[in-house]
């Protein structure tokens, strides 16, 4: 880290619906900002180069790798993490389905997996198993073998479609 990186940047954003103002090191990753500065430890740092998806968060309605984004880039952004999405009840059905289907074991990938799955579920249409598998291919899970996760997401997709039609 050089002196240049130690420069601080002022950011103003909303995180989980609450306003946040901070002066962040220019080199700080978003995931570290959320975890270290805001105490939001739900999303996890794992591969730290954008492969595994454990740090997936929602930024301006898109799922984003918290390890590939700098906190300094979040100025003006609307950021949601698993904590906020839990509090609002936005994906309670998905979380319940994960528990019921045991679609998590160690749980380390789960917050990121949920954000990625919720992104797919919020798009139009009812995704097929193959589409769910494809969409979640940026999120590694080393415990479950994925099938339970696919089952849980598929079940929620069908339940939400059923509700929409009713």
């Amino acid at each position: 880290m050089t002196g240049h990186f130690r420069d601080k940047v002022d950011v103003s954003l909303t995180v989980n619906g609450e306003p946040v103002e901070a002066r962040v090191p220019a080199g700080q990753h978003m995931i570290d900002f959320l975890r270290l500065e805001l105490g939001l430890t739900g999303a996890h740092a794992s591969c730290e180069h954008g492969v595994c998806g454990a740090c997936t968060i929602r930024v301006d309605d898109q799922s984003v790798r918290g390890c590939l984004m700098l906190a300094a880039q979040a100025d003006g952004a609307e950021v949601w993490t698993v904590e906020g999405l839990t509090d609002t009840g936005a994906m309670t059905d998905l979380q319940d389905a994960f528990v019921a289907r045991n679609a998590l074991q160690c749980g380390f990938c789960t917050p990121g997996m949920l954000v990625a799955a919720e992104e797919l579920l919020s798009q139009s249409g009812t995704p097929s198993r193959a589409e769910i598998r494809e969409h979640l291919s940026g999120n590694y899970c080393r415990c479950t073998g994925y099938e339970a996760i696919i089952d849980a997401v598929e079940g929620v997709a069908q339940a939400r479609a059923g509700k929409g039609a009713a």
Binding site: Q95, V99, F108, R129, G145
Partner: protein, 793 residues
């Protein structure tokens, strides 16, 4: 009283049912507490400067630039920590001849693999520590690197540890019967060369430890992502000169282990040593490159093997020559000879045959140390055995299912002792095979394969039978001198509100240990599982135990929990009988109520009993025992291991133009004895299968000839992703062990044990019409195209 587990209508029938995991909801809400989530006052971060070369003498170390980085508090070299931490030597007495040099928390004179920690930098932030670690200047004087396993013992290969005399860490030859005579006279002998690639576990949570030394209390507290808290307590105490009673290891949520987090790592011991020196909390979280270069590797084996069969397909002999390179040190305290030893113990496992010879040769090399990783040795032994059996079937024109049926131990043959001298209490190979054939509709699949072939598609069916070693007794580690407990304990207590708390020595890393314990305790006491709180992973709180590894959590920890729960039930009923002036034998506890055992009529809620015992004990008879806390321990005594069995099948398609394998479906029938929670068992099997599929198709650590690791990132070391994985159908046969009342054996490793062999056999089944065969894992497109003769450069 024997609990009639098979009667689903019995009271409190939680064992055998899918109940929710008590700790899952917090994890889906992001409320888990992994080590990196913990922040302590005055906490510092440690980061390591690691050897960039495979083998070098450590010369001058210049710390001036590193010390100048803002935030750096202190820097430690190997010599500094050697003064406060004794070295360890990872040998076990029962692995005769195993040798390994002393290993220090930081390399002192020599670095022996790429990634070995050399200098530790402590700073106020992780970023500052990393920045400074990169500025540590070490003068590495290159030494020759030993990287090839097969030539490690050649006379012209340099000896890595001259004090040890040669590069041989361990060798074991096992011989039973007359293999040479059987090979000589057999109808057919098939030979093959197998290779399994060097893997690592890739836990999503990297290795993590936060150590707090409180000099005022003389106590060390280590918050550690580990599978074996009590083992680590002993290690820290012994090597840092602290009384064992003054080391507390706390293991909260753990983000995946698979065997990776059951070993002693130099950087973690260094972290504890530094915490003791500095009297401040020190946190170490491995980054992903450190995970690849320093988490244990495994499964780097090369094997020459032969099978001899009669005209009728009877196996007459199996002959195995196994070699593995383990890095420069045997890993403490479980040692790096176990995997090779398991290959010797497990080859030929399902089959009733007479002549067996197997040798494992374990050599040192300048690569990351290898040690036990999920299904230790099983994927190798199963690949050898099942690969050979399929080749033999091909050589005599027999169906792969049929040849197995002709050789597997009969289901009524037990107990038996295998040619490898493994003792099997009770297995179900035939029942499992029958169930598998039915589940997969074998004949229809063969018809589909034939139909596909007419359309130019190459599909293959692969079968792999296996045995799995679970519930280890002290014969695994204890007899060799390691302070690793094979016994486990559970304390169960009833609180005033009638709720139950269970403290167990086994640990949770996502398998569902806490759910399993909650339902065992719920049934044993007679309460709803939701009324049971489980506490694991704290050496100062739980009964002493081994932790969770070698598929022992349910079989050992579950039985201790059952016995403790039933003892508590007995204590409660003794008090209830006095209070109700009833015959204790005529009372029962159901759903948190003391009831009349015959009629089921409610007599008293447990909370009323709790109120009287805890607050109005004066109203009870003076001499009435009212101990609402009970502890029981369990250890297996009759068999060194509880073997399980199973059989897997893979159906896949090989694109013979690109070499790409598409997995179509996978099946597994598994016999882990009593199934406590069907969903959790199935998901253990599925997760295990996918780890095995990773080994079959993707996973391989690459080194160059200088010992430089080439693929230390998740983008370069491929693990299975959702899109490539098949759906998996799981079935069960239940042959409970008679060693415990619960009857549970382990289920955590069976999936990984059998999946690679099933895929190998399926690929070779697909390629057979083209005369091609692959036996070197992973089966990459390149290797398949080479086998097909389509690549020859």
């Amino acid at each position: 009283m024997t609990i009639p587990f098979n009667n689903p209508d019995r009271p409190n029938s939680y064992i055998g049912k899918t109940v929710p995991r008590p700790n899952a909801t917090k994890l889906v809400q992001g409320r888990g507490r992994y080590v990196d989530d913990i922040v302590l006052p005055r906490m510092l971060h440690v980061c390591f400067a690691r050897s960039p070369v495979a083998h070098a003498r450590i010369g001058e170390i210049d710390l001036s630039e590193a010390k100048a980085v803002k935030g750096v508090i202190r820097i430690f070299t190997g010599k500094d920590l050697a003064e406060v931490c004794t070295p360890w030597v990872a040998v076990l007495a029962h692995l005769k001849g195993l040798k390994s040099p002393p290993e220090y928390p930081l390399a002192v004179d020599r670095a022996c693999w790429v990634g070995e920690p050399v200098v530790a930098v402590v700073a106020t932030t992780r970023a500052a520590a990393e920045e400074a670690a990169a500025l540590v200047a070490v003068d590495y004087e290159d030494l020759p690197a030993v990287t090839d396993t097969m030539t490690a013992l050649d006379t012209d290969t340099p000896v890595i540890h001259p004090d040890l005399g040669d590069n041989l860490a361990f060798r074991r030859l096992h011989e039973e019967g007359d293999v040479d005579a059987a090979l000589e006279s057999a109808h057919k002998v098939v030979s093959a060369r197998f290779r399994t690639a060097r893997h690592t576990g890739v836990t999503l949570e990297p290795r993590s430890i936060l150590v707090d030394w409180n000099p005022a209390e003389g106590q060390m507290t280590a918050y550690h992502a580990t599978q074996a808290p009590h083992m680590m307590q002993t290690v820290f105490a012994e090597h840092l000169d602290i009384p064992e009673s003054r080391v507390r290891v706390v293991c909260g949520d753990v983000g995946g282990s698979y065997g990776i987090k059951v070993h002693v790592y130099p950087d973690e011991v260094a972290t504890a040593a530094i915490a003791k020196v500095m009297g401040r909390p020190i946190k170490f979280i491995a980054d992903r490159l450190e995970s690849y270069t320093t988490d244990i590797h495994a499964r780097d084996h090369e094997i020459e093997a032969k099978i001899a069969v009669s005209e009728e397909g009877k196996i007459l002999a199996i002959d195995v020559d196994d070699w593995t390179g383990i890095g420069p040190y045997s890993v403490y305290p479980r040692t790096s000879a176990i995997e090779g030893n398991q290959v010797v113990n497990l080859c030929g496992g399902p089959y009733d045959f007479a002549n067996y010879r197997a040798q494992t040769t374990v050599v040192f090399q300048n690569k990351t140390p290898t040690c036990q990783y999920r299904a230790v040795g099983h994927p190798i032994a199963v690949a050898i055995t099942e690969g050979l059996v399929d080749m033999a079937a091909g050589a005599i024109g027999m169906d792969p299912v049929e040849i197995r049926r002709r050789n597997m131990y009969a289901d009524d043959a037990y107990p038996v002792t295998s040619p490898a001298k493994m003792r099997f209490e009770g297995l179900s190979h035939h029942a499992s095979m029958d169930r598998l054939v039915e589940m997969m509709d074998y004949d229809a699949l063969r018809a589909d394969q034939e139909e596909a072939r007419k359309q130019g598609k190459y599909r293959g069916i692969g079968i792999a039978s296996f045995i799995e070693l679970t519930n280890p007794s002290p014969f695994m580690y204890g007899i060799g001198g390691a302070r690793i407990s094979a016994q486990d304990g559970c304390t169960v207590r009833m609180d005033p509100d009638g709720s139950v708390v269970a403290l167990s020595g086994v640990t949770e890393q996502g398998q569902g240990t806490e759910a399993m314990l909650s339902q065992v305790v719920a049934e044993g006491v007679g309460v709803d599982p939701g009324q049971v709180r489980i506490i694991t992973g704290d050496t100062q709180v739980t009964p002493y135990g081994g932790g969770t590894w070698a598929s022992r959590g349910a079989g050992i920890g579950g039985e201790a929990a059952l016995q403790a729960a039933r003892a508590l039930r007995d204590s409660i009923l003794e008090v209830a009988a006095a209070m109700l002036q009833a015959d204790k034998g005529k009372l029962d506890i159901r759903a948190g109520q003391v009831v009349d055992a015959d009629t089921g009529e409610d007599r008293m809620p447990l909370e009323e009993l709790g109120r009287i015992v805890y607050f109005r004990g004066d109203t009870l008879p003076k001499d009435l025992p009212r101990e609402l806390v009970q502890t029981r321990h369990f250890i297996t005594m009759e068999y060194p291991f509880a073997f399980t069995n199973g059989v897997q099948a893979s159906y896949l398609e090989v694109d013979v133009d690109t070499g790409v394998v598409t997995l179509l479906k996978h099946w597994c029938v598994e016999d882990c004895g009593r199934v406590i929670n069907p969903q959790l068992v199935d998901e253990q099997i599925r997760g295990g299968i996918v780890q095995g599929l990773g080994g079959a198709l993707y996973e391989e650590i690459h080194y160059d000839e200088d010992g430089q690791l080439l693929n230390g990132s998740m983008a370069d070391y491929l693990v299975p992703m959702a899109a490539e994985m098949p759906d998996m159908q799981i079935g069960h046969v239940e042959t409970p062990t008679g060693e415990s009342e619960l009857g549970a054996k382990g289920a955590g490793e069976a999936g990984t044990a059998g999946a690679p062999a099933a895929v190998m056999n399926a690929i070779n089944d697909a390629l057979r019409p083209l005369g091609a065969q692959v036996t070197e894992m992973p089966f990459t497109p390149e290797r398949i195209l080479r086998a097909l003769g389509k690549l020859d450069d």
